[in-house]
Amino acid sequence: MDPDRLTALPTDSQLMFASSGAVPWREEDATHSMRSLAYFIGTFVVALMLGIGSAWYMIERGSPLTTTKVGPWNGWVTEGNPQADPYTKAHVARSGRLPLTSTVARYFTASTDSAGRSLVSSCEYSIEGGPLNARWWSLAVYDTYGGLIDNPSARYSFNSEEMLRHADGSYRVNLSRQARPENWLPSGAADQRLVLMLRVYSPRETDAAGIGLVPAERLPKIERKSCE
C-alpha cells in the first residue's frame, strides 16, 4: 500500500508482529482487496448466523426478558397481550396459537422433567402438583409439534373438574405408555419427545398489571420413575 512501509517494516517490531500475515509486495493491492472481500463476506455470514440464531432462540425458547422459568415450566409473561414485547409477539405468531392475554389466562409448558432431562414417551413420569387458585385449569400432553397423542382411551388431558385429588387438593398424574392407576395420562405408542402444557384460566391472584400469578410451588413437579 504505502511504499514507506517496506522500509519501516524491519525496524518497527510492533507493526511487524501485528501484520505478520501481510504480503509486502507490489501485488498487495489486489491481494488486499480480495482478502477484504473474503473478510467482509465472512463477517456478513457470521453476522447473519448470529443475528438469526439469537433471534430464533429468543423467540422460540424465550429469555429472562420475556418468560418466567420455574423448574421445568416456562411461561411467557405478556403472551397474547397487545402491549407485548416484539419477542413475545413473534413467538405467538410463529406458534400458530391464539393464547388468551396473560391477564385472563396463564400458560406454562414443560419439555423436561424437574431434573432437566427431556420428556420422552418411553419413560414413565409422576407429576405431582398442588391446588391452583383459578376458575379452571387443565394439564395436557402433546408431541413437539403441539399435536395430541393418539391413545386407545382418548385421554389427552386432566382438568380441574375431572382430576382425582387427595384430601388436601393436591394430585398426581401418571404420564406413561402403560395404563396406571389414579390419573393416567397416556404418552402413546410412538417413540417421541413430549411437551406438557398447563393452562390456567382466570387465576384469582394477579400482580399490579393484572397478570395472573401462579405461585411457583403450586406448579407440578415432574419426576422420572423409570424408562423402557
Partner: protein, 205 residues
C-alpha cells in the same frame, strides 16, 4: 492500519448481527405463514360463526389446542360495516376473546363477569359507529357491548371449557347456537347499509 482490521470486522459483525436480529424479530409476526389467522382463514368465509372440531390426534386446527375446551370462531371483516356477535352463555367458564390477525388478544370477557347470560357484542372499526344521531344512548345499548377494534379484520374466538367429559355435547350445542354476522342498524329511520354481505366479505368499499 492492518492492526485494527480484525477488531473492525468483529465490531462490524456484531453491529450487523444486531441489526439482523432486530429486523428478524420485528418482521416475523407479519411473515409467519402458518399463524392462527391463516389456519382459520382456510376453514370458511369471514363473518360467520364456525364451530371448530373437537381437538383430537391429527385433527387440530391450531397446535396445542386444549382437548377439553370446545371452540367456535368467527373471522370478522369490518370492511362492510360493524360485525355483531351473539351468544347465550351457559356457564361462567365461557371466554369470548377478540384477536388481531397477528394473535394479539385485544379484548376478552369471561362468562363469570357478564351481567346476563345473553351476550351481544358489536365489533366496530376505528372509523365506524353504531350510535344513532341525536340520541345519547339508544334504548338497546344497555345490553350491547361495543368494542372498537384496532384492526379492520381479526378473529373472535369463543372458548367453552368442559367441566367434565359428559358435558362435551352440551357445550357443542351451546356453541352451535351462537351467531356472528354483519351488524344491521335496528333503527328504521336510517336506511340500513348494504345487506347480503356475508358471502362476499372481501368486496371493496
Amino acid at each position: 492500519m492492518r492492526v485494527r482490521l480484525p477488531g473492525l470486522y468483529i465490531v462490524l459483525g456484531l453491529v450487523l448481527a444486531g441489526l439482523i436480529h432486530i429486523v428478524a424479530v420485528l418482521m416475523l409476526p407479519s411473515l409467519a405463514p402458518r399463524n392462527a389467522h391463516a389456519r382459520l382463514a382456510a376453514l370458511g368465509p369471514a363473518n360467520t360463526m364456525i364451530e371448530l372440531p373437537a381437538a383430537s390426534p391429527g385433527r387440530q386446527v391450531m397446535p396445542m389446542m386444549a382437548p377439553d375446551v370446545r371452540y367456535a370462531v368467527c373471522r370478522f371483516d369490518l370492511a362492510n360495516g360493524p360485525v355483531r356477535l351473539r351468544a347465550a352463555v351457559p356457564d361462567e367458564l365461557w371466554l369470548i376473546a377478540l384477536y388481531t390477525p397477528e394473535g394479539e388478544n385485544f379484548y376478552s370477557v369471561v362468562g363469570a363477569d357478564m351481567k346476563r347470560p345473553q351476550i351481544d357484542l358489536i365489533i366496530t372499526a376505528a372509523n365506524q359507529t353504531v350510535e344513532e344521531a341525536g340520541v345519547d344512548a339508544p334504548e338497546w345499548s344497555d345490553d350491547v357491548i361495543v368494542v372498537n377494534a384496532p384492526v379492520n379484520a381479526g378473529i373472535a374466538l369463543i372458548r367453552a371449557p368442559l367441566v367434565g367429559p359428559s358435558r362435551a355435547s352440551f357445550a357443542e350445542r351451546a356453541l352451535r347456537a351462537t351467531s356472528c354476522g354483519p351488524y344491521v342498524r335496528p333503527s328504521p329511520v336510517v336506511p340500513s347499509p348494504p345487506s347480503e354481505t356475508t358471502e362476499t366479505p372481501e368486496a371493496p368499499l
